[in-house]
Symmetry: C2
Subunit: 359 residues, 2 copies
């Protein structure tokens, strides 16, 4: 049974996790399907196919730049030839609801004997029809966003851990906080450092196999959830890279960000920013200059614990190489901090900054 | 059926709301039972008795300074002589769980035909035994902290409402934010102003009969819940006093506070502070001087919307009159803002400050 894995939100049952087909109908691109992209880029499972009729016939690598050899197909039916064991929901829509047109695909997948992994706010296990079909066909559903029972109110314990806790923060949602935390973790491990990644969102949990989606916790327990998983990581790791969520500037999600910051009480913060994004997406709120963003984050934390932004992680995926290099130089000049795009250039420069700041 | 009322979290059924007995066993005092004190001070229902064996034989007014004619009794059995229709849970314990020793009292109350109103995180309707007994005896349970279905992600709409939205913020939990917002609402109504109170916590909902407990919402929807209830209040009121929650300085609850601030996007903030409290209770974190607290709140809001702290509401319940007067003067000198204790002195001075700041 080595092809099964215990995931959060699976009611204590193991999920097939070797051969996964990703549902990303109508939205398989870098911006629209961040869960799909995260699984393909970092997942420990093998993605055998992606379902998106708009891109059917292409390969994943052609569309998102990663995913060598992964075909995009038009339907679940077409995906079955690649022998998936599990269907993973590959989008994270605003509000976390299940798009109505996907319901039938999920039911069909269960009828074909596939397990289903979902990171939606709307838990599939709580949907009577879907739960019934899963039970009938002996399939497991993992609602990885479902928080565990019995979360505590944060006690402020992370303020005094000796480990180097490093939290990614961002100028907006979807700018690359999870990817940067993962790149730093993997880079640190390659150097033989005792490093761990702390997943705080559904895609991170899918990739790392554990964690708590802090945005799905009852609000009183955001910081308590973060505190719990950071303390767990600190047991075996000296370098703990915590996936950030949302943005202190985001009118919808700032509460999650604030709770995560206080629950983590990080020794260092890495500021993530997408260079081509001048405003909070969908809100028309201007993102301040990066030096002001750095100062703002340090000011917000100061009354509770001293911390610094120690590096800038830029997302330049949509820029030409020369533009990216210029953006990195400009960010360094503006903030006086090391900056880099660690997807484009690898995590070593940012990792050196983290190690240097740890002293 | 005029003695019944529709409350949030009652599954669409009406709760008896004329004659209430409050359960506050072992904790009926100003600091320990803020829900009980809130109901007695501001509730629209009649409190017929309080259950607390430690204070049995006294009157509520002797213990908490309000509640003329309300006896404190040792048990539910003794309370029945006062013919209650409803048992209200009168504490808001950290973490919101049901104290084990209260379970039997709730079951007994239901068996006696009483409805039950609870503001705990642990929903009584989800407890199979309690739900069974309620059903069997035809009683209604109102879990007023249960958030409604289908909450939105905040859209930032409150930033542009023309109404004067006024949010109380605090240096800690339990410093009087709800009471100040209620006093200002009631004071404004006495002056004939079109004012409304927006309840954001369980006690406020119990008092006002509507609202959403934002600390019980799924974290992604804190600001969205706040936005919804503020916009609703703006339909009929020009002066909207929003009950604050937690504190930006609180390691456990700051996420709730941040979400509420951004969801409300208040035109003004009233800073609430208990003079005798130098630290965040239970955390040993020093509360900064009030002028720094004012600046901090304005700085946190600045990137999203311009707002000011326009008055200081001091809680001096445990000080002698002369000490209270001195504390008020000192707060005014330190911050340059009008300050007062509106429980001690009435809301007029703070209300004048709010009206003056509205321009």
């Amino acid at each position: 049974m080595s092809d099964r894995k215990r995931l959060p939100g699976s009611s204590g049952r193991d999920v097939h996790f070797e051969r996964v087909v990703i549902l990303a109908e109508g939205s398989f691109d870098v911006e629209g399907a961040k869960t799909a992209v995260g699984i393909i880029r970092y997942g420990r499972c093998r993605t055998v196919a992606v379902i998106d009729s708009q891109h059917a016939g292409q390969m994943a690598k052609d569309v998102i730049g990663v995913g060598e050899g992964i075909p995009i197909v038009a339907s679940l039916q077409e995906a079955l030839v690649y022998e998936p064991q599990t269907l993973a929901i590959g989008i994270a829509p605003r509000g976390g609801l299940l798009p109505a047109e996907w319901r039938q695909v999920i039911v069909n997948a269960l009828e074909c004997g596939l397990d289903v992994i979902s990171g939606l706010h709307a838990f599939l296990q709580d949907d009577p029809e879907i739960a019934f079909v899963a039970e009938r066909h002996g399939c497991v559903i993992a609602d990885v966003r479902r928080p565990p029972e019995g979360l505590p109110v944060a006690e402020g314990l992370c303020r005094s851990v000796p480990e180097q806790t490093v939290l990614t923060v961002g100028t907006d949602c979807c700018v690359g906080k999870m990817s940067v935390s993962l790149e730093l973790t993997l880079g640190a491990k390659r150097r033989g450092m005792a490093a761990d990644f702390v997943a705080t969102g559904q895609t991170g949990i899918l990739i790392w196999g554990r964690g708590i989606s802090v945005d799905a916790c009852v609000a009183d327990f955001i910081a308590g959830a973060a505190e719990r998983i950071v303390l767990e990581a600190c047991r075996d790791a000296d370098w703990v890279f915590v996936e950030g969520q949302g943005s202190l500037y985001h009118p919808g999600y700032s509460g999650v960000t604030m709770g995560l910051i206080h629950g983590t009480s990080p020794k260092q913060m890495i500021l993530c920013h997408q260079v081509s994004r001048p405003e909070i997406r969908g809100y028309g709120i201007a993102i301040p200059p990066l030096n002001e963003v750095v100062a703002y984050h340090e000011t917000v934390c100061a009354p509770l614990f001293p911390t610094k932004v120690t590096a800038i992680a830029l997302n330049t995926y949509d820029l030409a190489a020369a533009e990216a290099e210029r953006a990195i130089r400009e960010a360094e000049e503006l903030t006086g901090l090391p900056a880099d795009d660690c997807i484009r250039n690898g995590p070593d420069k940012l990792l050196d900054a983290v190690i240097s700041a740890a002293g």
